[in-house]
Symmetry: C2
Subunit: 516 residues, 2 copies
Amino acid sequence: MKTIHAGETGTVNKWEVFEVEAEGFSDKNPFLDYHIAGTFAGKGESVAVDGFYDGGGVYKVRFMPSFEGEYSYEIGGSFAQGIKSGSFTVAPPKEGVHGPVRAVNRHFAYADGTPFYPIGTTCYAWTHQPPEVQEQTIEELGKGYFNKIRFCVFPKSYVYNLREPQTYPYEGAPLDNWDFTRFDPGHFRRFEKRIGDLAELGIEADIIVMHPYDRWGFSNMGAENDDHYWKYIIARFAAFRNVWWSLANEFDFLQNKTTADWERYAKILCEKDPYNHLRSIHNALVFYDHTRKWVTHCSIQSPAVEKTAEWRDQYGKPAVFDEMVYEGNIDEGFGRLSAQELVRRFWECAVRGGYGGHGETYKHPEDIIWWSHGGRLHGESPERIRFLMNILYETPGFGLKQFRPNDGDFAGVFSCDETVANIPAPYMQPTSYLVFGCEGTVAIPEEPMAIGSYCLVYFGNARPSCFECRLDESAAYEVEVIDTWEMQIEKRGRMSGKMVIYLPGKEYMAIRIREQ
Amino acid sequence: MKTIHAGETGTVNKWEVFEVEAEGFSDKNPFLDYHIAGTFAGKGESVAVDGFYDGGGVYKVRFMPSFEGEYSYEIGGSFAQGIKSGSFTVAPPKEGVHGPVRAVNRHFAYADGTPFYPIGTTCYAWTHQPPEVQEQTIEELGKGYFNKIRFCVFPKSYVYNLREPQTYPYEGAPLDNWDFTRFDPGHFRRFEKRIGDLAELGIEADIIVMHPYDRWGFSNMGAENDDHYWKYIIARFAAFRNVWWSLANEFDFLQNKTTADWERYAKILCEKDPYNHLRSIHNALVFYDHTRKWVTHCSIQSPAVEKTAEWRDQYGKPAVFDEMVYEGNIDEGFGRLSAQELVRRFWECAVRGGYGGHGETYKHPEDIIWWSHGGRLHGESPERIRFLMNILYETPGFGLKQFRPNDGDFAGVFSCDETVANIPAPYMQPTSYLVFGCEGTVAIPEEPMAIGSYCLVYFGNARPSCFECRLDESAAYEVEVIDTWEMQIEKRGRMSGKMVIYLPGKEYMAIRIREQ
């Protein structure tokens, strides 16, 4: 973040936060009674944004430039007298920075066109933990297991997480003596420092704005206070390039909110966030209507990873399984999955053209559990998930037809465990065996498989002793056998035409075939 | 089977085959041009059945008595001149014989009311293999892994099974020079000997009457020959108490047959089978309309065992997953599942109130593969499946409300891997944790779980470190922890009230709680 005083000049990198601060009135209720706004204009864009009161008589306006070159700004409003203006320069983006993530063609890409394959985790209340736990979380996240994390602005009250948070979003005192018209800017400063830390690590911040795990009343503040809250966090957070808006976690458990409320919040978001960050709303029992235009992707809670392609195509949007049950050993049904099965679900999502989500819930003597608090990871899935992420980043690019099942006539990527209905055409006709197979030998379809230039086959709980296929004889393919659990890639050399790829008869194997 | 000559007297046990044979005309085409029928009457019943020509001038009529005591019979028809009559005595059933299986209350029971929990396997073409392979199959089946087996009357032509069968159902020669009006009685005698062998082992014979894996033309003989075939096998097989009629395997792959054909076959079956043996029709891609009255149970091909209760309740009939992909290591998607996953699916079916089906497809140097040929079993699932079967037989009985999820307000049996929607009420409300849990301790619902007298909880891929519940304090329960893979049952003693049952943090565990 680059901060200047209103009237000064400065330099900022493209897609970084450019912040202009100014002193203003601190009488009355500055959060409600005074207003600050700014306009930022360069060759490529002119953006008007609201600012916010940050306490101690200081007001701020934030902006994220999407172009390089010379910009000017104007800051005004009732917060002080007069209009302050200045200029600044936008330098090229820092290395490795690709801008905000967009939904494109049922997948994702950064603003500069680089494919983004979300591989997320969940630490709902990590920013509300003591500083040393937060530092541990940052350290673990720095190991590159994940490129997205879901977490809540409000503190969380739920099993294993019933301590009071470090700070609260409002002035007042627990349990329920709050002034919902006065924010505690310190709470938000600490929170947004973490958004910035994540940006530095290349991790998207999937911010959960509302949730039902509440004993302080933040889930039931009334429409006016809700809207005030929405505008405040948009003014504060939207300029961070890595922000994703998750309107709620388990929205259907928020019993005091109606569809009209969610639609109103979404409207505020669409009006006030000039960067059009990704927007989703996460279910417990029942999906929100993901066909709503403002919903950019399906944020799904379900273990039914076989439905990835179905839901993705039904809603015409990326399918992100943000919760598909967590690796762990707690008693609760959501937190006791084996690492093997969680990793399998990640792969099943991936080969069906969707994206999985991680969480970890191992019992801990001090109740520091990754899924809620962050801290340390203890499970076996994270490094396997990172291994998958690396393989996804080695695909020829998102949206490639042959990488996505059910996009066309033949998929090229499929999972072992589908019913025949989902298996590509060459496998559907028993006659292809009857005609071309013979007793004791391998049955190979007569026609080459139309795999295109890239094929990733995942076997999950299946453990065939071999995989038979027939590739174009005029091309050469590199064949690799991948042990997704042991994280080993064995090169099998170049092949073409009819081939039998022998496998070790273990679960969790995959085959990658790439045209040379 | 008890055989007498027409006019003689005899004795037979209840639910055994009583056969009356008689010489008759052998000119013209005895299969078509002559007819034999019989009536069998005792105090409890009077049954009219068709007989059949068995070659060499011999005609037969078969009957299965459902009552004990004195019976008389009359045999007549155009096959010979005059009517032959006689009497016979029906003795009590042999030990362990409970009669034919019926569908009752979405589950199964033998005619004498003993619950029957089908745990089936599949050896499509085992009766068409050389005698020594058939004997191996019988030997393996004698080990008590399964109590039902699916197999075909017609020979099978499909991958790994392209040798010619031992015999054919018709006079003629392969490939397609057959007289569909003349059966080879030897083929059927050998086949029904195996039905009898299975009955001796207490195994139900789920006979697949039609199937699409055909290179001889048996799947496309025309309506008249089809009907002739149906009447012939009903006359031959229906008197075996352990017969189940599977109209077809993968009926939707039989491209020359229409719904009208299937309904006509079903009509013949309902008219001609006086014992009302179970009737089903097995899908490949698309379910037959299981709401049809003549369908007694859903014979399902699908790996979607989570849908067990949904389908069972949708059709109001027992859900039998006759194919949910086989344990093995062949290349084909249907035959490469791990034993662990197959056993898991059996358990998931069971705790959801349905029934799984086994098949095994390991590569074999001579292509003798259980799923098609029978022979020897090589996998790890059969003994685990037998273990499950024994546990099912220790339940208090079918139809018990608390044993079946989704039957009422509270299930008592549930699986780890369901979405919250399917988890019984005490687990659905986050507030039950908020109110009654506290940091670092176990959250226990305030109200006792209404588990009734029996509760079986299966965790599948989940491996919680403990399971918390609260039982009625005025009753005493025996608690056992079951390792479904290692097949061990650990007694944890008697408990009541609030309890924490500690678990080893492994996959495939279950807990059984029984009121003392």
